[in-house]
Amino acid sequence: MEKKYKKGQILTVIYEERSGRRTLKSTGIVIGQTDSKLILGHNFSVISKRPIDITKIPLKNIIKSEGVVPKEINSLHDLQDNT
């Protein structure tokens, strides 16, 4: 039984590419889940909330997932501190 992910949850997911060649780490908001895939959205229109770039991750390829709380950036100084 595949794990159920909550829509709107912000996750960092470690998974193997379909080819199994690389292990990738992807960060985004859960925008959906099918029987076989988790769909993460990475950037959005603030008003429409429509995702622009997404990643579909096969559930069976997920090695680990953890919730994250992103830091809101209000200045370039904040950004430099987190780089």
Binding site: K25, E72, N82
Partner: protein
């Protein structure tokens, strides 16, 4: 593990319909790991061993920051802005990247068309033709016929009105 950030930014907009009512810029939000330089910020959505594989390269001027007013004003003479004069706008665009091919700078764009309107933070060009200027290569952007282009002032690097440089 480096911190995940949520960052807001604005981007240019294009339209394919005959009329537009809302000329406001839209704000977008991106999640990921940041890497900041003097001119741009890279937000990586996907990484492999700490190396960005997929993400965005965003000019720093388009970041929406509370503590910094980043939009610079460009004055267009009233006489020029009224008549829908031929206008050329040089601007820089953000770049989406994948497969770890991180661009080293933003895209250089040129939009030419009739001056249509301006807002406090953008210039609107009607019947635009836009090209991306690359080394030894010119690409039309986008591939569809556009009717309007809204270009944030923060992205504009130069404007030509009848060949007169501002």
């Amino acid at each position: 593990m480096k911190l995940v950030v949520a960052i807001r930014y604005i981007d240019a907009l294009f339209f394919t319909k005959k009329n537009i009512k809302d000329m406001g810029l839209k704000t977008y939000i991106a999640l990921g790991h940041p890497a900041v330089s003097k001119n741009h910020t890279i937000i990586s959505f996907t990484r492999e061993g700490g190396f960005p594989i997929r993400g965005l390269l965003i000019p720093n001027e388009t970041l929406v920051l509370e503590k910094q007013k980043i939009l610079k004003k460009l004055d267009i003479p009233k006489s020029q802005s009224r008549g829908g004069c031929d206008t050329g706008v040089f601007w820089k665009d953000m770049v989406y990247f994948e497969n770890g091919k991180i661009p080293n700078q933003f895209a250089q764009m040129y939009t030419e068309g009739k001056f249509f309107s301006q807002t406090s933070d953008a210039i609107v060009i009607k019947n635009p033709e836009t090209i991306e200027i690359k080394k030894g290569n010119i690409d039309n952007y986008p591939k569809v016929k556009t009717t309007f282009f809204i270009i944030p002032r923060a992205l504009i690097t130069g404007i030509e009105l009848y060949g007169k440089k501002i």
